[in-house]
């Protein structure tokens, strides 16, 4: 019996360590963004519906906004779209769109067919801003505070549940504090 004690103990220890790491590992495929708590990466991009304008973070300083990365080639974006319209209707916070590696004409058609939930849409044709924001799977939604700090990131479809549990409380707390 005694000779099995050490290997058994070692095995139990290993099992406990692995169980703890599995429990604490984030949801499969979702990688926590290193951007949380840091300044939103700077960008200065053309605006989809107005070729004379550009949009930069400096324009957005001083207010809360949701930065939503989408593209007409992205299936989940279509599923997410009705809820973005609801957010816009609620008037709680403006949604800024980042049209990621997309065709401008197709993007305009998508918006005229499905409705436009965005206050402004920045166009990232080459995908450089997306890399700066650590984007890897559209749709992605960032919550940015008036100081220009990224407060939260949702990778994948923004659902009413994530909105209610993650975005709304942060917005409320931030506004109560300021």
């Amino acid at each position: 019996m005694n000779r099995f004690l050490v290997p058994l103990g070692a095995f139990a220890l290993l099992a406990i360590v692995l169980a703890i790491s599995i429990k604490h590992s984030p949801e499969k495929g979702i990688i926590p963004s290193p951007l949380i708590g840091k300044a939103a990466p700077p960008f200065n991009l053309p605006v989809l519906n107005d070729s004379t304008r550009t949009l930069s973070n400096a324009d957005l300083k001083g207010r809360w906004y949701v930065f939503n990365v989408w593209g007409t080639w992205c299936v989940s974006c279509r599923e997410e779209h009705p809820f973005l319209l609801q957010i816009q209707k609620s008037g709680l916070v403006p949604v800024i769109g980042l049209d990621w590696k997309d065709d401008d004409a197709q993007a305009r058609e998508w918006l005229s067919q499905l409705g436009n939930p965005y206050q402004t849409i920045a166009v990232d044709r080459e995908g450089r801003t997306a890399i700066d924001w650590g984007v890897y799977a559209a749709p992605e939604s960032f919550l940015v505070n008036p100081q220009g700090i990224v407060v939260y990131k949702c990778t994948g479809e923004l659902t009413p549940e994530i909105w209610q549990t993650q975005f709304v409380p942060r917005l409320a707390a931030g506004r109560a504090g300021s």
């Binding site: 963004s33 290193p34 995908g127 890399i131």
Partner: protein
């Protein structure tokens, strides 16, 4: 069976022959560093492929970023830091040594040492047993 094997062989052939990234930098030194770096950065979209092997658009954009940084004279660590700042440590296929990853790097050595100690002790015990046993083997067998 033969058909399956043939199909497998053909599939393998495709995988090795089809290069995703055909970019060549004019400076062979930069090209070597470019190849090394793109083989140690993870494509965040496919997650088990390097950006050198992944055919998706994001990997191509990330390769372009690596290329531009190298051409701008940035060091390998600058490139790694750029990617880690945006995507986190997960993007490195070879994790860096830190307090959090120390066990990952040290565990194999520690386990090897423990294994060696156990092996030496077991071997010593065995040879000690053999030393005590003076009776010839045949007698053991022929004993009633």
């Amino acid at each position: 069976m033969r058909r399956v094997l043939l199909a497998l062989l053909l599939a393998l052939g495709c995988a090795t022959l089809h290069a995703v990234d055909t970019t060549e930098l004019s400076d062979p030194k930069l090209q070597a560093r470019y190849i090394a770096l793109t083989h140690e950065l993870r494509c965040m979209q496919c997650q088990n492929e390097t950006i050198a092997d992944s055919p998706v658009g994001l990997a191509a954009d990330m390769r372009r970023a690596v290329r531009e940084m190298l051409l701008a004279g940035k060091s390998d660590d600058d490139v790694r830091n750029f990617m880690v700042a945006r995507y986190g440590e997960f993007i490195l296929f070879r994790p860096r040594f830190s307090a959090r990853t120390a066990w990952l790097w040290l565990a194999p050595g520690v386990l090897l040492i423990i294994g060696a100690i156990v092996a030496v002790r077991v071997l010593r015990q065995r040879s000690a047993l053999v030393g005590q046993d003076n009776e010839p083997l045949e007698e053991d067998i022929s004993r009633p």
